[in-house]
């Protein structure tokens, strides 16, 4: 039983990170109907910048939390700027173009960012300095670290903040209006260019936080980490119903749980035939099953077939 609880805890931590990244995908998709393929790379850049700053300060004698916050403070503007630039350069000129054109520029941006990171930080894995206090707590016979608790709590707070932003503020209303129908929103006085830019900036800020979380949780960062993370987060967004903010959170948490439970139990389930390296197969298999029965995701609205 304690193994089960342990896997649930790991799944929740992983899921919280997926959810934060998935929000970036889903917000952009909701507003522009575009898969922002480069979003995973923004997470990677957040992780790399934060890690670089934290490594430089790790001997300064400041408390670990303060160093982590400084690292985050450095990563946030860099990521937000990157997100803003991506939209300006690669997506805005193509807003009226055929649908696959921005997908290709997104792939291009992704390749550029990845290799830029490789030029700056090299090919090696970077270790996260042990600055954060490692306290372990017992829950139902499983252990959870202080860092893991912090990840879950911070992710929950940020998601709550995002929901408040979208539901309660004027910007949020403008975002929802733009998602509904950009030209009409524009006629109602919404500056859709500004709204779209801000959507990218907000999504990138979430990505920066997620990047710091990933590198702290796994104690490692690498120029290639954004790709697989982005893929998983995008899967999570689709699982929940892309374009839907609550769906991205649900999808993220679910995918995290499926992965860690799948990795833990897939061997028992298949009588030892499939080992834990099939955890990704498991995740994608669940995704395919969900989409076969609910083609618009778990909480996605049923989109009317066009007339």
């Amino acid at each position: 039983m304690d193994i089960f609880i342990q896997q649930v805890i790991n799944g929740l931590v992983l899921g919280s990170i997926y959810a934060l990244v998935a929000l970036g995908y889903t917000m952009v998709y909701g507003i522009m109907g575009l898969i922002n393929f480069a979003h995973g790379e923004v997470v990677m850049i957040g992780a790399m910048v934060a890690l670089t700053v934290i490594s430089m300060l790790s001997d300064s004698g400041l408390p670990g939390i303060v160093i982590a916050l400084i690292g985050l403070g450095a990563a946030l503007p860099v990521c937000m700027g990157t997100g803003f630039a991506i939209e300006r350069i690669a997506y805005r000129p193509l807003r009226r173009a055929p649908k696959l054109a921005p997908l290709i520029t997104a792939i291009g941006v992704s390749i550029v960012l990845q290799n830029l990171a490789m030029l700056i930080w090299g090919r090696n894995y970077h270790a996260f300095p042990p600055i954060l206090p490692t306290s372990e707590h017992e829950i139902f016979g499983a252990t959870i670290t202080g860092l893991q608790i912090a990840i879950i709590v911070i992710a929950a707070l940020m998601m709550a903040g995002l929901i408040l932003l979208v539901q309660r503020t004027k910007l949020g209303r403008a975002m929802r209006a733009t998602a509904e129908n950009p030209p009409i929103a524009q006629l109602m006085g919404v500056d859709i260019n500004r709204v779209i830019s801000l959507t990218f900036v907000i999504g990138s800020a979430l990505a920066a936080v997620a990047g710091l979380m990933v590198s702290a949780n796994y104690s490692i960062a690498h120029y290639y980490m954004g790709f697989i993370l982005g893929l998983k987060a995008f899967t999570a967004a689709v699982l929940g119903g892309i374009g839907n903010i609550a769906g991205a959170m649900l999808g993220g948490i679910l995918l995290g749980l499926i992965e860690s439970l799948g990795a833990g139990y897939i061997g028992d389930l298949t009588g030892g035939f499939l080992g834990s390296h099939y955890q990704d197969v498991f995740a994608f298999f669940v995704l395919i099953c969900v989409l076969v029965f609910r083609p618009s995701g778990l909480v996605g609205e049923k989109v009317a077939e066009r007339a």
């Binding site: 898969i35 290709i104 520029t105 992704s110 550029v112 990704d280 076969v292």
Partner: protein
């Protein structure tokens, strides 16, 4: 680019142009071999393989409008099938003429296997499911070395039989009437022949009932259904057709390389083939060929120039050439799409669409 309308009017000019192109294609390996050496000849062979792949994907994405991001899986299926049926791994040594059709058939079945559960999905949902499917195939290839060793895991399968017809092996220089044809040239002609075959089939398909049905589904699935098109079967046919082309290309790849490993069938490869289709001009066969050739050759040009050019300018290699090459490649993708959003050589229909939507 080329004034096709004039060529259509003037049969003699068309004949001359075709003959010229034929001579050029026939002489290409000798010209390139002499001018640039074996490395580039090899790249030329790979370009033909990628063109076959891009043409296969073009059926699914370009004609039928189904965004498939796991296409490389079928290439992998074809390649591994060849590897298993003609290598010391299982001790089987099937002849090529038996393997390639089997590869096409099995890959086609996989295409239906992927298509069937995804018939209801549209656009981006389809993209992510196909992507997941591609990853599942790759993970299985990577891990099916235990408990029973089928794919030999991450090490891949080596020592694959070269493509051979009877006692004539394409891996060694072939003697034709006292004239020796080097291996890379022989592969070039074989690939060219098959690529031309695929081009021919694709052109015939495009103008057939099936091809028009695909376009109808792409433009409006509900209207197509209302017009009496069996959308289910026609969509499955698109998946199967595209997949079987991928399977053939995969088999050729395995025979050519004499080695396969799961690494060659990563998501990035799917993305590359998709880029070839979209960047070249979705739905237009010549555009897709252009895209396939360009995206195979361009990264190689960058690879061979990234180091030496830095050496010449700065006196030393300042930036990692591998990273620089991909950086330039990414930039090229962005720039081309920004200036030609419908692709380098769009089909007439798409060009019109794009003009319509931009106005």
């Amino acid at each position: 680019m080329i004034d096709f309308a004039a060529l259509k009017r003037d049969r003699r000019a068309a004949l001359a142009a075709t003959a010229g192109l034929g001579v050029l294609l026939a002489l290409a390996p000798f010209l390139i071999g002499a001018a640039a050496g074996a490395t580039w000849l090899r790249i030329l062979d790979f370009a033909l393989l990628y063109i076959m792949l891009a043409l296969g994907l073009n059926i699914v994405v370009g004609f039928a409008g189904l965004l498939d991001m796991g296409y490389i899986a079928f290439y992998g299926v074809g390649a591994y099938l060849y590897a298993l049926l003609a290598s010391p791994h299982f001790g089987l040594h099937w002849p090529v003429w038996a393997i390639l059709p089997t590869g096409a058939l099995v890959a086609g079945l996989f295409g239906v296997l992927l298509g069937a559960p995804t018939l209801r999905l549209r656009g981006d949902y389809l993209a992510i499911v196909t992507l997941g499917f591609g990853e599942i195939i790759r993970i299985f290839l990577n891990n099916l070395n235990a408990p029973i060793n089928i794919t030999n895991g991450p090490q891949g399968i080596s020592g694959i039989d070269p493509i051979h017809f009877g006692s004539v092996s394409l891996a060694k220089p072939i003697d034709i009437f006292g004239f020796s044809l080097p291996s890379l040239h022989a592969y070039y002609y074989l690939f060219l022949l098959l690529a031309l075959g695929i081009v021919f089939v694709t052109i015939r398909l495009e103008n057939s009932r099936i091809g028009r049905a695909w376009v109808a589904i792409r433009e409006d699935e509900i209207a197509a259904k209302a017009c009496g098109i069996n959308t289910r079967n026609i969509k499955l046919l698109a998946f199967a057709m595209g997949a079987s082309f991928g399977g053939v290309a995969g088999g050729l790849f395995a025979g050519f390389q004499a080695f396969v490993s799961p690494e060659s069938f990563s998501l990035m490869e799917s993305v590359m083939v998709l880029c070839m289709v979209v960047l070249g001009g979705m739905g237009n066969i010549f555009g897709v060929i252009l895209g396939g050739a360009l995206l195979t050759i361009l990264p190689e040009v960058f690879r061979h120039s990234a180091g030496p050019v830095q050496q010449a300018i700065f006196g030393k290699v300042l930036l990692d050439p591998e990273a620089l090459r991909m950086l330039l490649f990414g930039l090229a993708l962005i720039v081309v799409m920004l200036y030609r959003p419908a692709g380098l050589w769009p089909s007439t229909r798409r060009r019109q669409e794009f003009k319509g939507s931009a106005a």
